[in-house]
Symmetry: D2
Amino acid sequence: MIVSTSALLDFFLKTRTHTETICKPLQIEDYVVQPIADVSPPKWHLGHTTWFFEDFILKKYKSDYKEFNKQFAFVFNSYYESMGARVVRTDRGNLSRPTVGEVYAYRKYVTSALAKLLQENDSLTELKELIEIGIHHEKQHQELLLTDIKYILGNNPLQPLYSENFNEYQPISNTPKWLPVKEGVYKIGHNDSGFCYDNELGRHNVFLSEYQISSELVTNAEYLKFIEDDGYNQVLLWHSEGWDWIEENNIFAPQYWQNQDGEWYCYQLNGVQKLDLQAPVTHISYYEAFAFAQWKGLRLPTEFEWEIAQSKFDWGQRWEWTESAYLPYPNYTKAPGALGEYNGKFMVSQKTLRGGSVATSDNHTRATYRNFFHPQLRWQFTGLRLAR
Amino acid sequence: MIVSTSALLDFFLKTRTHTETICKPLQIEDYVVQPIADVSPPKWHLGHTTWFFEDFILKKYKSDYKEFNKQFAFVFNSYYESMGARVVRTDRGNLSRPTVGEVYAYRKYVTSALAKLLQENDSLTELKELIEIGIHHEKQHQELLLTDIKYILGNNPLQPLYSENFNEYQPISNTPKWLPVKEGVYKIGHNDSGFCYDNELGRHNVFLSEYQISSELVTNAEYLKFIEDDGYNQVLLWHSEGWDWIEENNIFAPQYWQNQDGEWYCYQLNGVQKLDLQAPVTHISYYEAFAFAQWKGLRLPTEFEWEIAQSKFDWGQRWEWTESAYLPYPNYTKAPGALGEYNGKFMVSQKTLRGGSVATSDNHTRATYRNFFHPQLRWQFTGLRLAR
Amino acid sequence: MIVSTSALLDFFLKTRTHTETICKPLQIEDYVVQPIADVSPPKWHLGHTTWFFEDFILKKYKSDYKEFNKQFAFVFNSYYESMGARVVRTDRGNLSRPTVGEVYAYRKYVTSALAKLLQENDSLTELKELIEIGIHHEKQHQELLLTDIKYILGNNPLQPLYSENFNEYQPISNTPKWLPVKEGVYKIGHNDSGFCYDNELGRHNVFLSEYQISSELVTNAEYLKFIEDDGYNQVLLWHSEGWDWIEENNIFAPQYWQNQDGEWYCYQLNGVQKLDLQAPVTHISYYEAFAFAQWKGLRLPTEFEWEIAQSKFDWGQRWEWTESAYLPYPNYTKAPGALGEYNGKFMVSQKTLRGGSVATSDNHTRATYRNFFHPQLRWQFTGLRLAR
Amino acid sequence: MIVSTSALLDFFLKTRTHTETICKPLQIEDYVVQPIADVSPPKWHLGHTTWFFEDFILKKYKSDYKEFNKQFAFVFNSYYESMGARVVRTDRGNLSRPTVGEVYAYRKYVTSALAKLLQENDSLTELKELIEIGIHHEKQHQELLLTDIKYILGNNPLQPLYSENFNEYQPISNTPKWLPVKEGVYKIGHNDSGFCYDNELGRHNVFLSEYQISSELVTNAEYLKFIEDDGYNQVLLWHSEGWDWIEENNIFAPQYWQNQDGEWYCYQLNGVQKLDLQAPVTHISYYEAFAFAQWKGLRLPTEFEWEIAQSKFDWGQRWEWTESAYLPYPNYTKAPGALGEYNGKFMVSQKTLRGGSVATSDNHTRATYRNFFHPQLRWQFTGLRLAR
């Protein structure tokens, strides 16, 4: 918990600015489209993170607060059923208004109102906690902004680049080593005074059998061997659902890979590039991660194995699929009211990912952070690390 | 057929300019979205009409022609299967690039190249005929531009207006009269030297029994009585398909009608307005037009009855649904090659509409003009006139 | 109109018996399934034709009539919205009960009650007219029974035969001749004292330009040439909707055709047979009929051309697709009440077929009979005849 | 593992007979239909369990074995991708052939061939193990047979009963007690010489925090209070997916519950009965079980908590939803080849259920048995037990 008001204010303002910095390279048109349901228009992210501050904080704590535009709550609510009606998710890309300019004006209005509110109530702990949640919420959306922008540009037939300077990875040049962990009872969950989400709380014991985890992420070189060994056509490597998914969607390589005359390329935020064999394999679904591990005769780690071993290796380039389902920790309790919708209501049918990625905002992830996605999704910077 | 090169050039340039004038009131964001499959992004219309000149004319007649951008053919082809691959229709709204600015640059480049080509080849009849088709093609898209813009703005929760000066109708103050037509053999189809589409050609005889046609379009006042008499709930008034359509889509009034506390309003290009009872009923499907006529104990005219009687009444405010299916005239033959895809391939499952609308470009429609849409569509300025 | 009560009774009883004769070769299991929405389970046809007599006649004219089972109206109503709730069409094949035995008992009960009613009210013209409609309704379903049985058996991987004795066609050995018809005004529609449906009434004049119509149906030999000339891959031959339909459904030959090692076979009611080149091509959609005619540089006749020329050629082997849409004749009026749902409510989006087929019940079709189906349907015994 | 050949033979024959006994009350029509994708026609279960013995055993171990019908492998394969092509799951109910009689003949043929094979190879351990798997496979399908029959009859508008003698539950008259379990490391997984599936193997340690589990299943009385407290309308009780599921499917009570004039009834295999408040609540989805627990301020047990505590309470009336996702145990390895498709390929997106039900075959379930279904499914005899 951030105690100093000025530190919190600074954190707030920097976060707000950074969101807009991410959007700098965009054309106005790029802010508007939603090529698939999972990808929201950048304009929507800008508005939604602002609405969060307005609806959860300003309308409650600022007695004379006047909404920027009463209809924006309808436009920018995401999924908070308890906060009222909203534009259905798949319609976000059908709205040309409010314009990008109006959304930036909305941001400015709310940022300034919130800064003032904070300065005037610098002793209200509850308020400061809510603001901190709002900041972390916005930092989460910063990562989604980048991955959604990548999808919007990378799936355009013109494949425009986002920025020449965005480097998506550090080459993996080390030979992977097996890092051993002894059998035993280990503590899992968040355990310091810093910020964390509710889903990391409830530190508890977990028994782990002896295991080994790789020191390195799987590389494109290794994944290419899987493709060349016809891994996408060996049914016994796949989950039943995974097999249906690759058949229905005609999947034969990670997202953004393109084969031109036998040569592999991939679209990156810095444009179409020849496939770098030393790069960590990226943009794969859980199904693909699992099938690859089966093919190697190995497996994915559980999220607990990952958390206990993580201090022994470098992480943070890619969100790492784990074998664990996204479930509540023992004694998990949801926050009361609408904020309780934040994490708990997604704890079914999703897989946990650990680590972080090049798109994750600074200081946003940590060893106990639990990310989660449905097993078929791969527009995030996802990768994998093997265990046995 | 336009014989003078300078007249044709003038017609071409004015048409090109007018398309852009229609878009003047738009924000950049409005150019991009596609809220339903039938509605194309304005940006796409701007590019597609340009591609038509580039692909059908410049690339064939200008030996040293250099395409503005080779990938634009993929982006802006509409449905000409024989002209190669293209963005699937429902994906048009998923493309942020090319930007609006690039599309305007594309327009300028092609307009100028075509003007030059025409000036350098002023005796080539075939070329001039193709240019004339291209102009009329663009004029058709001008109407679609307006109706698509209306849908984009009118279905936005903020309901922004397009222009205060756009007047959608002339009030109908005359009491409707029955205009009688005698039984006999009549000539149908285009019959002068002006431009027409292939689907109007093949002037031929049709036998018409004696009939009467109304001097006026049906008004909102009359349609409101149908609603108030529970017309949308009387199954025997409807086609089987029409009934399924209103049930599945929860239809209970024309498109853009809104009921606020018992009062009817409708969204128009000049904003949300109180329903004017003297306005012609607009934005109804064929199913609704048919059910209304059934409820009156009357019927829609056929397109032949309409064509023969049209000199007796004013028309042009609304496209008028007829009872006729859109079918080829006797001895209809498609143009050879890709241009043959223009009309003939749609001659199944659609209904013919006659007349024109406030959104129709100047001098674009005529007494023999055959418009056609699927029976459930109603985002055009459609209306109806009764017969018996 | 049948005036003699005993003749009507005989007609009624023979029709009821014939329906059951059609089902003789079936196993109980064959009565139950519904492999596609268009194909109803035979059990349903048996029950539905019975419900028609019960609901439209017995319940109205027999004061003390006790329904066989009150829930059968829910199970066996087809689409008469005005007659109350019903099992949705696609659920017909999900009902194992009532059993086939119960349905036969229901038939017996209703047949006997209706025979008695008729004998006791032999002077009631209205009643007799309704019974006559019910008989013709059942005769229509006899044809559907046969085509639905063919689909059920022919699409089963075991391809069981229906009956060795069912001969689907007479070979066409004559060379086709062009039969000329002069331009002029002709009378269209039903014009004698026999039974007809409401959609044939309203005899009226139609002007026909000079035309020629083929003396023969198109044969498998001719259609095979279209296939071998790659007709299914020439986009310009097809309607836009037709092209989408063949692409989505992977259509490359008429229904029931099978290519085994380069040799063509087809499933018939008498089992899988080598394709007979002299047989009329069968089980094609309107889209295929149209594309074939385009490929020949010819066209389909309109239903009016067909009706006027039909006395010059043999017909009745196949339902012949026409170019006409299924629309009301001038002055068409629907029967009042639920019977009005019989024909009129389908008069949109369908094509008219003329003639009859080997599956049509005796004396059921006539020169003015108008059959109608959606353009993609081909499980009926459909074929085509060319015109020019 | 069963060592004695005669005991195994007896087990085999009794199992085969019992499957047919389950079907005794059926009409032939009941064997054929598939009202939803999850419910297979009883005929298919009869054939599929037979195909398993034929394809995995007879064809491999009996050198001169002649298949009953070569096409049955295509008809009766379920999902074994590695065993070749098959009828797609949703088409099972579209097949009238083979007839029920032919399927029974097929059963007899295979049963007799397999009995002979076993007698002639009584020392072949591998064979005996395969037969044992085949028996347990058939016992699993016995439960599915019953639940599928219930769905087929219970969703028919006539709601026929299956058998007056089938009693679906024992009333729960005890007041529930909280059974405490101490924190500690516990052993999970199968650990005796009896048969088990591969997903139960790999006995391993699990750390459990202190917890309490209810001695009783939740009853209809308790669930009714949840309904009456508007539990189906309180969004914060539900998972996001669960909420969408109840909204889309209009769910407001457990499956088979019917409200007639304010009185609750439910369809059971012995017909429609007044809701018994002392019966365990049944036919609920995981989503409903979870929402109910949320409403109580309690939770579902994990499958590990259930396994460790199960000796303290009675179980076996209902499959009990747990909070655990269906995942592999540490060191889980799939059987080689097609049998490896049995369990492992479903280990994603499903929830584990523990216990057993009134429909489970005798001696089929056990304390370590792991059943699994997708969270929305509820046509099995599912229920719940609370923990805290």
